[in-house]
Amino acid sequence: MSMPARQVRRHAVNGLMTGLIAMLSALAVLALVLILGDLILKGASSLNWAFFTENPVPAGETGGGVAHAIVGTAIVVGFAALIGLPVGIGAGLYLAEFGTGRLGFFVRFVADVLNGTPSIVVGIFAWTWMVKPVGRFSALAGSAALAILMIPMIARTTEEMVRLVPHSLREAALALGYPRWRTSLRIVARTALGGIVTGCLVGIARVAGETAPLLFTALGNLNFSVSPTHPMQTLSLQIYVYATGPFDEWHRLAWASALVLMGLVLLLAIAARWVTRQRYGTGR
């Protein structure tokens, strides 16, 4: 059966657009593959025991590691989570449980807007409040900046996860005479726990890679330090310094550090997916 010319053209356009759109998607995936591929290609060969356990050697010399930055990342992000998670989860519970009114709408809106605030702005804010008055850069100031970035993220994901809990569960608990607050915490939040943990892990993964808010707060440190009131190195700051520095040796270490940071972020992201999958069967 021969089709009229118009039909042929319409189907040709359809085929063309389908191909174009598939190609665009392939291009986006290609970008990811290229970046991850380069990280492994240029970073993996530098990963060895010394890289993880030693501190940097003086500029210009070869060798050394980033133990101080790995420990620093854990400390800075750990304190950030300590401040950010409770506030974020609480705000999220509020939005899910009482967030139907005008205040709920407003808080939700502010959270979304705050989510898009440039992290560098949060950095200079944290500097003003926590570095300038003391006269010293500190890991804690960095944690505070990261916590500010975490709160709106965690609040929104927590809200969404709590909202997924079926209404019948809540009604069953209330019908049995459970007070609202215990229903909310013991039944609703408990049921949504997997989702909330996922949100927290994703939030932690996000801020673990942040650099801009740490430039004027945690500052960076070439030596091993675990004191939260002093400057501290993180992997992200280390990558920035090494990548923009003049030495080939630094560039090599920058790629290796980036691979480690990326691995850390991916590990958290995969853990997040895994937690949800456990609870909701096939996941999203």
Binding site: A91, L261, A269
Partner: protein, 319 residues
């Protein structure tokens, strides 16, 4: 009997309920408080510069820490130009991904591709910067800029020598970084389009593409525009990757091959060097301008997206 509570609940809210609500409300109020304090602090810190330079801060381009004269026009221009370039590249990619994932891809392919594209958002900014310096810029220098200059060298957009760090490099890096955000939100918007829209078009004999173009995209238009504006907000405030590849020069030029500057990059670069109070204050004013622009852009994006997908936290979950 293990549970003595029933008697209380029958009498309405008990002490526990009231305390619970107060605590949660307090925690929720942290968010508006944060944004308010942030804004107020930026204004206070920027006040000396605002008082000294007035509105001309926005359109003068002298940036001279020695003479204490500051004008932010080059960074404002660079911020807008790099974000514009980024969107130019990112929109077709991201919307293409979203359409592919909701309309064309075979079912088994949707989840993995969506996951991979979302992973782009998980890559830290500083890693993008590293990749930009050592992979993208050499690639541009060897394979992209020469043909680009050969074909479009006569336009004002591709004039001058290419030294690597440039508006072009910044724009491309930004584009890759915002694709996952625009794609994730657009996808959720397209998923929210009722299937009856598609089915109606297909039943009328439309091809798949015609159904997308005439039924699905118009329905989700506001949401997709919202997604794009959200991406714009991300790229305006992006700091590290841009700082590392854009060249950091106080200059306004139309050529994408030349170095430029952005507001975020200026703060990142100069904040620790700012020795005088006026210098610091000028940088705070830059931060304030950036903050106001991004808040406005994000608010607009949210309102548009909410209109389509009511109140859903689309995008804020994107990994």
């Amino acid at each position: 009997m293990s549970s003595p509570e029933p008697r209380w609940t029958l009498r309405g809210p008990n002490t526990g309920d009231r305390a619970y609500r107060v605590v949660l409300t307090g925690l929720a109020l942290v968010l508006p408080l944060l944004i308010l304090v942030l804004f107020a602090q930026l204004v206070v810190s920027a006040l000396p510069a605002i008082a000294k330079f007035g509105p001309s801060f926005l359109w003068t381009s002298t940036w001279d820490p020695v003479a204490e004269v500051y004008g932010a026009a080059p960074m404002i221009f660079g911020t807008l130009a790099s974000s514009f370039l980024a969107l130019l590249i990112a929109i077709p990619l991201a919307v293409g991904v979203a359409i592919f994932l909701t309309e064309f891809a075979p079912r088994w392919l949707r989840q993995p591709v969506a996951f991979l594209v979302e992973l782009l958002a998980a890559i830290p900014s500083v890693v993008y910067g590293l990749w930009g310096i050592f992979v993208l810029i050499p690639f541009l220098r060897a394979h992209v800029v020469p043909p680009l200059k050969a074909v479009l060298g006569w336009t004002p957009f591709f004039q001058g020598a290419f030294y690597g760090n440039s508006l072009l490099a910044g724009g491309i890096i930004l584009a890759i970084m915002v694709v996952p955000y625009i794609a994730a939100v657009s996808r959720e918007v397209l998923l929210a389009v009722p299937s009856s829209q598609r089915e109606a078009a297909l039943a009328m004999g439309a091809t798949r593409w015609e159904a997308v173009r005439s039924a699905v995209l118009p329905y989700g238009r506001a949401g997709i525009i919202g997604a794009i504006i959200l991406g714009l907000g991300r790229s305006l405030g992006e700091t590290m990757a841009v700082t590392m590849v854009i060249g950091n020069r106080h200059d306004i030029g139309l050529s994408a091959l030349q170095p430029a500057y952005t507001m975020a990059a200026a703060i990142a670069n100069e904040f620790t060097e700012a020795t005088t109070d006026m210098y610091l204050s000028a940088l705070f004013e830059v931060g304030l301008i950036l903050f106001i622009i991004t808040v406005a852009v994000n608010a607009l994006a949210r309102l548009l997206i909410w209109r389509v997908a009511r109140g859903a936290a689309v995008g804020s979950r994107a990994l």
